[in-house]
Symmetry: C2
Subunit: 436 residues, 2 copies
């Protein structure tokens, strides 16, 4: 993509109302613009990142055996009356009346709706287990939306729902999601730690939050350094018993400041790591909490009718864009992990009015693009200094700078955004390095 065409309205100034790094950087890097409090439009580069995150989340859900559906954003209120949550949910639920005066709402989560779909279609234990997920916009009418996409009102969430015959099978479904989450966050370039959590309004008695470590994270976290020795990229054959893996990851101490008690910590100081973190996922096993009141039952092997055992599993997809930036930035801007970078390479023509320089850039752009590399090509005639600053701000993994002086010596410059390392290479070497 050529910068001269691309809609990428970057800002030199830091917006006054943005209090945290990810909010500031997403605005400055032209990724989002606010429509109303806590409601954002995603501009082209922001959307590219969002979609890459969404796709990794999707792949790991599919690999874990979950099946993708898509429930609507607007729900009828009746189902929530049936589950008993219509009144419980309070002001955070965006309540709506349609033109005929029917009570509707913008879904903040989908336990009721998926349970309704399930109970109408699935009648036998033979059709279990099932895990259905969707990646859909939700709305929670936060009293004080802030921190950009980290605490927005309209946000993109992946929510999965598992249905099993027995609590033992339900634990297996829970374990499959637990492992899928470890893999998902690792693939996103994040270090995530599962922590035992309160279940809150979702209910149930088994629940973990996944907290990613980020220097500028919202909470202080405390965890056993044993986590450093665990590999989140769990490779397990289909149907393998995941309990030992889950046991290993949950056997070590980890807690947010809300529940950590320094005087009663089971880990001695030498093994305790203190950091900051951001919640990006939350999984729940709640058994019959919804299936019982909503009468979601199947016929069991003995012919008796039993309520299904359910769990739900959320990932904050739009929140992850912010969380990744909190974990991956420096004083000059964003430092994207390669898996979610909007482009791999930022190619800069340092003298756009120089024909030879432009020809060399055009050729590099064509070669990299032909090799399947995503390139943002700054072909504009702004100054070199502004170009470098802008590339640092938007944080693509590699910068490829081409100027008349280097070309005279037959070289271009490749910079690794994360390490800052710069190499002078021939154009051929640069291509080889960037397509390796």
């Amino acid at each position: 993509m050529r910068s001269s065409r691309y809609f990428l309205p970057t800002l030199k100034e830091t917006p006054a109302d943005a209090q945290i790094a990810s909010h500031r950087l997403m605005l400055r890097a032209g990724m989002i613009r606010q429509g109303a409090a806590g409601i954002y439009s995603w501009l082209p580069m922001g959307l590219k990142v969002l979609r890459k995150i969404e796709q990794i989340v999707r792949e790991e859900q599919d690999a874990a055996g979950a099946q993708e559906v898509l429930m609507p954003t607007i729900q009828a209120a009746d189902l929530w009356v049936e589950s008993g949550r219509y009144d419980d949910y309070g002001d955070e639920m965006l309540r709506i009346e349609d033109r005929h005066g029917r009570k509707m709402l913008y879904g903040p989560t989908n336990e009721e709706m998926i349970t309704d779909i399930f109970r109408k279609e699935i009648k036998s234990y033979r059709d279990l287990p099932k895990n259905l997920y969707h990646i859909q916009w939700k709305f929670r009418d936060e009293r004080r939306p802030r921190f950009g996409v980290m605490r927005g009102r309209e946000f993109l969430m992946k929510d999965a729902y598992s249905f099993d015959l027995t609590a033992e099978d339900g634990q297996k479904s829970y374990n499959a999601m637990f492992v899928a989450y470890l893999r998902t966050f690792a693939r996103l370039g994040l270090k995530a730690i599962p922590m035992r959590a309160d279940t809150g309004p979702i209910g149930g008695d088994l629940s973990h939050e996944f907290i990613v470590l980020a220097e500028t994270g919202e909470s202080e976290v405390f965890f056993d350094k044993a986590f450093d020795g665990l590999d989140p990229m769990v490779e397990a054959a289909a149907g393998a018993d995941l309990q030992p893996i889950v046991d290993e990851w949950t056997s070590h101490y980890a807690a947010t400041d809300e529940i950590h008690d320094a005087d009663n910590c089971p880990v001695d100081a030498g093994n305790l790591i203190t950091g900051r973190g951001i919640e990006v996922g939350h999984i729940f096993f709640f058994g019959e909490k919804y299936s019982k009141p909503m009468n979601a039952t199947v016929q069991g092997p003995d012919g008796d009718t039993v309520p299904v055992q359910m769990g739900s599993y959320g990932v904050g997809v739009s929140r992850l864009v912010g969380a990744i930036i909190e974990a991956c930035h420096d004083e000059n801007g964003i430092v994207w992990p390669e898996a979610v970078a909007p482009f791999k390479v930022g190619l800069m023509n340092l003298r756009a009015k120089d024909e030879e320089c432009t020809a060399a850039c055009d050729k590099l752009y064509q070669q990299l693009t032909a090799a399947g590399i995503e390139v943002l090509y700054d072909d504009t005639d702004t100054g070199a200094g502004a170009k470098f600053a802008n590339m640092d701000l938007i944080g693509l993994p590699y910068q490829l700078a081409v100027g008349p002086r280097g070309l005279k010596n037959g070289v271009v410059e490749v910079k690794d955004r994360k390490s800052g390392e710069k190499l002078e290479l021939t154009p051929e070497e640069a291509i080889a390095k960037l397509t390796a």
Copy 2:
């Protein structure tokens, strides 16, 4: 995907409340379920089709130079007050108050919001032309939602918005979308005819509807048979003048029954084709209708400030699922065009309890999947008759039936769903045919 695992709740009975073929077939084929009037959940197979259509739409928008963004579903009411449409839009607009009593709405379209984004970011003619599109759920509170996804309340639309300095440039942007639409509908396996249209509440004076031909379509349409000689898969170099192509496509008579007047038709009876059709796209050039009241201006080459020339371009993505079924079905079920089929092949094990038969099926499934073919593998132990009927209903392009009798003779059966042609082939020949 194995049927034994897949969430595909097909129905033998025709649902009583479904009045048109696509609504009946989408319910029967387990593609959608209603959440509330005109609001649907997309089950796994329905969602696969929706995503394939969405991707073809996206690819043609990108190829035409449009850039993807994503605006939120919920909008602040102020922008609509500013454009003057807040009162005009009437009861179809879903109006909402948030917890602080602020007036919001669920976007039925996005002219105001995109104009607001544009005016805040783009200040110079040098940044034009721009065409920004998004594929997002919209809500229109139809008084009487019906016909399934054909006239739903919550629906998925692709809407693009072009911004140009002059009306001449605006016409070029319009032409690029016109050609993109011809290509999009052709790639979806549809025959679409552009018809001059009223602009209605969007405004402006240049507008075309794209109507796809379908025997069970909603409107009667009349058009010159000259359209049969035109190739919609226009191949044009970047920047090429598309006016001759648009002129060619708009020079022939085409009208819906709303405006067709048999007594004053410019085409003689021998050249007039009568059929039925469904509106799937609508494009508008409306110049300064929004840019003027909303003050979306740029600095022109002479330094003067001028309102931008705008157009908007919609495709009903979720509606297309229904439209394709209206155009592509027979008495036994859906007949998917290959480009949007949820799976290419339906593999049927006709005797799931027979070990040899199951081994042969498993091998075919493995080979086809390894070759990148999407296969729905009916590995359940229901009867052969039910399996055939179910496969006809869901309408995958090819059926591959494997039974003990055929295997004894070393053959399997490949059926082309559209032509009904059946071939007895060796498993190797079947693989070769299906992966060709």
